[in-house]
């Protein structure tokens, strides 16, 4: 299991487009991907659950990857979140 802490910095947080792009990217990895936020665990392969978590700019989150290809998945997650989803 690998994990990393992030502060969400794109102005819109995880709204429709970032949530969808993020979930689609994570779905391509065989390992499980979870976002820990506000004491909750969210399946990061589901855009609906990500949006329902209401993650905004400035939110503190942990991304946890577990299983086959976990390092690649975490690196891909970090690249997307840290670039602010190219916004």
């Amino acid at each position: 299991m690998v994990q990393k802490h992030f502060t969400v910095k794109n102005a819109q947080g995880f709204h429709m487009r970032p949530a969808t792009n993020f979930a689609t990217a994570m779905a391509a990895h065989p390992c499980s991907v979870i976002i820990r936020f506000n004491g909750k665990e969210v399946n990061a392969k589901s855009p609906m659950l990500i949006m329902a978590a209401c993650i905004k700019v400035g939110s503190e989150i942990d991304v946890v990857c577990d299983g086959e290809g976990e390092n690649e998945a975490l690196a891909a997650a970090a690249a997307m979140i840290e670039s602010g989803f190219g916004e």
């Binding site: 910095k9 102005a11 855009p47 609906m48």
Partner: protein, 566 residues
């Protein structure tokens, strides 16, 4: 006559097509063969994905790329592993596919509807849309085909969903009426993208209005007129002709440079308040941004935005504008606004008090953070910095010294930024206008803020009904302030713009051209109208009007004279 929200300009005259929500009735039951039911559910999901893909392609042709992307977003929601997986779990527990899917969708609709964020609340509409779509397929119910609607159809529906919109043929649908949605709702954006007049939020419209009823939709005034009289028909037919003529006339100015009748060129840019608004600038054909208010970044939150957050916002606007100029105004905030974490005290006289540049020069950390974020963003576009409420040279010097200091820091760290970034000022106080000759030597540009300049010059609060009559940019005193500011800028060889409401005022435009204004910054929807206004004035003709106007003694005389020449 029924009143609603004016959401998309224009007049539509036609007959109503009521899009009733097709009754999606089923009896929840337990299934004997859950595995087969899961298969039935999966086939319906595949069919809906296929249908939605087709709708997105149709929408791309009629309403544009952005709308198509939203429709394509539906596909990710339909395919959502949590939604699908949980539905299948319920089916495996014995529920029928319809009941299982409805339960899961309603759960998400509930979550999204209760969110504070307007954008997220709209996701509830998306989920309702896909829920109806999937139930329709499962139940084998045929959809009312909007695409078969005859010419002269006014669509009446509770909510304009993207899947309904995808079926709209522009030539046939002449108006839209809905029960929900405001000016910024998705229905409104879609209607505007299709250029179809729309009145939204008409309470109980689907109850009051009937299928096939003759109706007039006035999307500019937000009125719906069922069973119009002969006189009403004549009046609105005429109004529609005028509207269409004017729109066609304005459309001719799209994609053109802003030029006077003599070929002199001007810059026509926009005022924006959020990075997202930069997209509107492009949509309405603005040539850049003359005023990006940064206050929004600081409001509705509990702490000062970080440098990273600010950088992301400024960078986003710069990237959307793709090299077009972007003037960012540093924080303009004071005792008249409630921002708890900023420690602003209630003041007796907030407009004369501790605000804007005065506040920033005292709160150096906050100011430096903002300037650093702007400088970093300047590597991504043509960004300029503008200080608000300057009244004396010392303020400008001190603020510029801070910028130079941050530039050194960034250079040392090897962080890219525009080394030659222009630093200018708002001229919005009587002091700055009086001192314009001196300030012009140290500012790279001026931008006249007519709203505050009028208030400060006339010593009048436009919100106070007893003195509001004094508040006009056409007051001879205000005109003299404007004329002097532009002249001093011109003599010093720096560009002078205007970012108040007056820049879009047809009466004032000839005077501004005569005085030598080089940049007009207006709200995005005004761009084409102002470009057209400017196009009819040569410098020579504007000079004649200005010469006469400046001899007049009262606001009333000035206003009446200018009215007579435009």
């Amino acid at each position: 006559m029924i009143k609603g929200t004016a959401a998309s300009d224009g007049i539509g005259i036609g007959r109503i097509l009521l899009l009733e929500e097709t009754a999606l009735v089923y009896t929840p039951h337990t299934v004997d063969d859950p595995a087969a039911e899961v298969e039935r559910f999966r086939r319906a999901v595949d069919a809906l994905v296929e249908e939605t893909t087709r709708d997105a392609a149709a929408l791309r042709r009629t309403a544009g790329e952005k709308e198509a992307l939203i429709m394509e977003g539906h596909i990710s929601l339909i395919n959502d592993p949590a939604l699908k997986g949980e539905t299948e779990n319920l089916i495996m527990g014995g529920q029928c596919a319809e009941a299982a899917y409805e339960t899961m969708c309603d759960m998400f609709i509930g979550i999204f509807s209760s969110m504070e964020d307007e954008m997220m609340r709209q996701r509830a509409a998306d989920v309702r849309d896909i829920k109806a779509g999937l139930l329709r397929i499962l139940l084998g119910v045929k959809d009312v085909k909007v695409s078969d609607a005859p010419k002269g159809t006014v669509l009446l529906t509770k909510e304009l969903t993207p899947s309904v919109t995808a079926g709209i043929k522009k030539g046939n649908i002449v108006g839209i009426i809905t029960e929900t949605g405001g000016k910024t709702s998705h229905s409104a954006i879609l209607a505007r993208a299709l250029e179809i007049p729309a009145v939204l939020s008409v309470p109980n419209a689907t109850g009051i209005l009937k299928n096939d009823q003759p109706v007039i939709v006035d999307g500019s005034a937000g009125l719906v007129i069922p069973d119009p009289s002969f006189d009403e028909l004549a009046h609105y037919t005429d109004k529609r002709e005028r509207f269409l003529k004017e729109r066609a006339e304005l459309e001719k100015f799209r994609g053109r440079r802003t030029k006077g009748a003599d070929g002199a060129e001007y810059e026509l840019v926009c005022n924006i308040g959020k990075p997202d608004d930069a997209e509107k600038v492009i949509e309405f054909d603005g040539e850049g941004v003359g005023l990006f208010r940064t206050e929004f970044l600081f409001m509705d939150r509990s702490s000062v935005p970080t440098e990273e957050e600010q950088f992301a916002a400024y960078q986003k606007a710069a990237l959307v504008l793709k090299g077009k100029p972007l003037i960012i105004r540093t924080l303009d905030i004071g005792g008249d606004k409630e921002i708890p974490y900023m420690g602003l005290e209630k003041e007796e006289n907030p407009f004369m008090g501790f605000r804007a540049i005065r506040y920033c020069l005292k709160k150096k950390d906050l100011f430096r953070t903002q300037l650093r974020a702007i400088l970093r963003a300047s590597a991504f576009g043509d960004i300029k910095i503008m200080f608000p409420l300057i009244t004396c040279v010392e303020e400008l010097r001190e603020a510029k010294a801070i910028i130079e200091d941050i530039k050194k820091e960034l250079a040392l760290l090897g962080i890219p930024f525009d080394r030659n970034i222009d630093v200018g000022i708002m001229v919005e106080t009587a002091a700055a206008a009086a001192l314009a000759d001196v300030l012009a030597k140290e500012a790279a540009f001026f931008s006249i803020g007519t709203n505050d300049l009028t208030g400060y010059t006339m010593a009048c609060d436009r919100g106070n009904a007893n003195v509001a009559y004094l508040y006009s940019a056409l007051q001879p005193a205000v005109l003299r302030m404007i004329e002097r500011t532009i002249r001093c800028g011109r003599e010093a060889g720096i560009p002078v713009g205007m970012c108040g409401e007056a820049a879009a005022n047809a009466k004032l435009i000839p005077l501004l051209i005569s005085f030598g204004l080089t940049e007009f910054s207006v709200s995005a929807p005004s761009v084409l109208r102002v470009r057209k206004c400017i196009s009819r004035w040569s410098k020579e003709e504007a000079d004649r009007v200005a010469e006469k106007a400046m001899t007049l003694s009262t606001e009333k005389e000035v206003s009446e004279y200018l009215e007579s020449v435009i």
